[in-house]
Every structure is written in C-alpha cells, then in structure tokens.
Amino acid sequence: MTVALKKTAFHLESPGIRLLRQTFRNRSAQFGSILLAILILACLAAPALTDKDPNAIEPSLTLKPPSLEYPMGTDNIGRDTFARFLYGGQLSLRVGLVAIAIGAVFGITFGLISGYFGGWLDSFISLVTDILLAFPDILLAMTILAILGPGIINAMIAVGIAFIPSFMRLTRGSVLAIREMTYIEATRALGGSDFQILFTHILPNAMRTLLVLVTLGIGSSILAGASLSFLGLGAQPPTPEWGAMLNAGQKYVRQAWWLTVFPGLGIFLTILAINLIGDAISDAVAGTIIARDHK
C-alpha cells in the first residue's frame, strides 16, 4: 500500500519541476547558477555598488591601475572601469535577452506553421530558412546591420533575426514528430481546432528541446552582441557595453591590461555560467526522453 502511494506521489510531480530537479542535481549547473546569479545581481545593483558615474570624465585620472578607490582601474579619459563594467553588463545581458526573445518568438511561430500545415507554405519557409542558414551567424547579423545601420538596438534586432532560422528548424522538426502521435489524432477526432492542437498539445511537448536552445542561445546572443559592439557595429561610444569597452581598451593593451581583462572576463563568466546550465538542461532533457522511451 505504501509503495503504491509513493509511486503516485512521484507521478504527480509536474514534468517541468522534474526537469528542474534533474538539472540542478548537476554540480556544474549549481556552480553555473550561482555564478550567473552573482553577475546579474551585481549588474542590477550597480547604483548600490558604486557611486561613480560610468560616463564621468576625469582628465587627472587617466589609465590608473586598479586600486581600492577604482577596483578595475580607469580608462584613457579617466572614467571608472568598475562603474562601466557594471552598467555595461546590464546592457550586454539585455542584448542577449532581447535578441533571443526575437529569435524564439518568430522562429517558433514559423516552425509551428511550417511543420503543422506543411504544403507550399512549409516549402517556402524551409527554403528561406535554408538560405539564411547558408550565412555564418555573425555574417548574417553583420549583413542585417549593414541594412539597418550600426547601433545597439539594431544589433539586438540583427542578432535576433540571425537566430530565427535555428529556432524554426528545431521547432519544425519537433512538430513533425509530435504531429503524428496518437493523442494529436485523438484531439482532432474530438473536434479540437488547429490552434488548440498547436498551442495546448504540440508546443508544450516541443518545449523541452526548445528550452535547451533558448538557454544556450542566450549565451550565444550575448556573445554575438558583444562581438558586434567589439567590431564597432553595436553599442556606440560613450555607451558602456562589454564588447565596446574591449574595443576601446584594445588600443591601450600595452599600457593598461585592466581595460582588456575585466570586460572580457565579464562576458566569459556570463557565457560560461549559461553554458554550464544549458549543458545540464540538455542532459536532463535527454535523460527524460530516454526514460520515457524505455517505459
């Protein structure tokens, strides 16, 4: 009797919670989440952590090495690198989130339509996706920036668009697999509309695989955004942003190591944290799929 009860309790756990539990049982995921939480909180708490203005120019304090007063030193026009690091981090993180949101919303929508309805619409969307996938990501983002013109908002849009094809591909693949399941047929037989089937049955079931792409994609889009800013196509001076800070600091690599080390460390640690979490989610998702197939 007790055994039976325990079994029921286990099955009552929602798939989402189970996935979370499995993900965070992983040591690297725990480390990654703590690291990411520290970085995000530090950037958000910028006004509390420093009283300096990230754009305040102090000609008497140019290229000062790290000290208690200036933990990350100062740049070529005497701005506090620590303040710029924190405020710049806010922007870099925002670029990643906005870009991935654009990529996910459009990519998933196109993928659902393409995979579910099929026909000429599917052929057309798939062809456009193939064409877009023929560009290396960064080149596609750069091409879009060539059209829209440089700038941080445009960089978010460009990186977002560059992500649409990957989301579309993955969603379409999942839809094709799920569409043929018996429960979809059953819903249709019971009179379920296409809209209902797509959003209450297919999308939630495709979500697990998409979650991996979203997580790892946030990392990639932060990186892509910073790369564009590094190339001078994203955030424009004097806006603090990690990639743009590296671009500016690059010229002083011989005199001021702190200008290249800290902003890069910010990008590296953020992406490392996200990759660790993403890998754990990916393992957990693979685990649940295997467990389901073996039942």
Partner: protein
C-alpha cells in the same frame, strides 16, 4: 543514391539563387535612401546623388536591376567599391587567400588539440583527467574570440615579446596568434565531439567482443574504436571550416590582418554596399559549397544513408 545526389545539388543551386536575391536586396532594404546613406556625412549636392544612383543603376525597375546584377555576377563582375572604385571581385580575390590560410591553420590546430583532449577524456572517462579536459572544453566554448585574442596579445606579444600583435605580411610568426585565437575555441568543439563519439563506440558490443577475445587494449582503441569514432568528427569538418570563415571577421579585424572578414567589417562601417554585397555573396556561396560537399561525402562514406 543518384536521386539523392541530384536532389541535394538542386537544393544547393536553389539556395545559392536565394542568396543572390537576398544579397541583391540589401541595397533596397536600407531604410530611406541607400545612396544618401552611402554618402553619409559627405557634403554632396543633388547632382552627385543622382550620378551615383545612375551609376548603381537604381533608376531601373527592380527585376531589370536584379537581372543585370545576376548576369554580371555570373561573369565575375560584382561591381565597384564606391569608396575607392576598386572592382569588388578583385578586392575579394586579393584578400581571400589570406583568410583561407588562417582558416586552414586554425582548423589544423583545432583538430590536433581537440583530438588529443577528446581522446584523453574518453579513455579516462569519469576520472579527474576527464573533468579537466571537459572543463577546458566548456571554457573554450565560452571564451569570446576577441577576448582570447587580447589575452594572447597581452601574454605573448606585450609580456614575452614572442609574436607580433599585428599580423601583416605572410610570415609564419604573424600567423601564430591569429591561429591560436581562432583555433582554440574550435578545439573545444572538436574535443567534445571526439569524446562523445568515442564513448558511444566504446560502449558498442563489437568492442566488448574484441576485448573478450583478448585483443590488447591499444589495438582495441586504434583499430576498432577510433576508426569508427572518427566518422562523425570527419563529416563535421565542413561545418567547422565554414564556422572558421565566419570567425575570421573578428580575428582579422583585431590583428589588422588582410582577409575578407576584415574587408566585410570595413565595408559595413563605410556603408560601401557593392563591397558588402560582394563579400557576403562570396562567403555564403563558399559556405553552401562546403556544406554540399560535406553532405555528399557523408552519403558516399556512409552506406546506411545511401540505401535510403
């Protein structure tokens, strides 16, 4: 298989055609007037604008413009840079060898480092060596190329003075830092693939069988496991190469090295649209050709796909 090959080639032709449409559209998708955007802050009169419009053929109907663009492109004429009037195809053919040299040397480095790390991790699966190799690998995947490049400059150029931080000319020393910058993150990808593929193969029954009949460990690894484990890695080479071409934009820019990546960045910053179109078109076509070639090789090498 012939059917599959024909279909694969047709798709590639269709994709290349699509790329040409997209690249052609760049100039028309620019919000507002592309010509004014190109001339930017230069003080020009209406006559110059009209002249450039005429020169770029922007006054004709769009299908006519596209037809002209395509027929010229097929003959290798990609227009002229609006900045220095150099023919785009000439600029690209001058810069491409430098990019290819960088991409090849980075690929070679990535394969060597990635192979050693991946194999080590797989053979020492579950030990600290595995953890170390995979730690290095996830760090390699997370490190921004431009930061890695700057750190390498800081260490090898500023502090040790071994290699130049500016990669001009064709000397081998100048190629070292760009190769490390581009190749090391890629080595991380290769290491992961080699490890996963090797672990997969080592779990197979024919490996157990080989061991059971007393084949020495080294022989099991070299003769039975490695050969099979390498198939997915080798077929992935094409994609890696293509990725390296994209990565060259950043590496070339930061090391002030010649190449089409840097050409692209400069063209975009200067809004030199004919040059942007040319570089994007050529890079995308190379990418498609590599992918097509990879797919076809894979099909020929893998009988399981051939039968389908």
């Amino acid at each position: 298989m012939v059917n599959y090959l024909i279909r694969r080639l047709l798709t590639s032709v269709l994709v290349i055609f699509g790329i040409s449409v997209l690249v052609f559209s760049i100039i028309h998708l620019v919000p507002g007037d592309a010509v004014s955007a190109m001339l930017g802050r230069q003080k020009v009169n209406a006559q110059t604008v009209a002249q450039l419009r005429e020169q770029l053929g922007l006054n004709d109907p769009i299908p006519v413009q596209y037809g002209r663009y395509l027929s010229k492109a097929l003959r290798g004429d990609l227009g002229e840079s609006i900045l220095n009037y150099v023919p785009v195809s000439k600029a690209i053919s001058e810069q491409l060898p430098s990019t290819l040299a960088l991409a090849f040397s980075a690929l070679l480095l990535a394969l060597m480092v990635g192979f050693v790390l991946g194999l080590m991790a797989a053979l020492a699966h579950g030990t600290w060596l595995d953890t170390l190799a995979m730690g290095l690998s996830v760090s390699g995947l997370s490190i921004p190329t431009f930061w890695l490049g700057l750190l390498l400059i800081l260490l090898f150029s500023v502090n040790l003075g071994w290699f130049p931080s500016i990669s001009t000319g064709s000397s081998l020393a100048a190629l070292v830092l760009p190769t490390l910058t581009l190749g090391l993150p890629e080595a991380a990808v290769v290491a992961r693939m080699v490890r996963a593929s090797m672990l997969d193969v080592l779990g197979k029954e024919y490996i157990t069988a080989a061991r059971a009949k007393g084949v020495p460990q080294a022989m099991v690894i070299m003769k039975h496991a490695l050969r099979n484990a390498l198939i997915p890695v080798v077929t992935f080479l094409g994609l890696q190469m293509a990725y390296l071409l994209g990565g060259s934009t950043i590496v070339e820019t930061m090391f002030a090295r010649q190449g089409i990546g840097r050409l692209a960045v400069q063209a975009i910053s200067n809004r030199d649209y004919p040059m942007v179109q040319g570089v994007v078109l050529v890079t995308a076509i190379i990418y498609v050709l590599i992918n097509t070639f990879t797919d076809i090789t894979y099909t020929i090498l893998n009988p399981r796909i051939r039968l389908k």
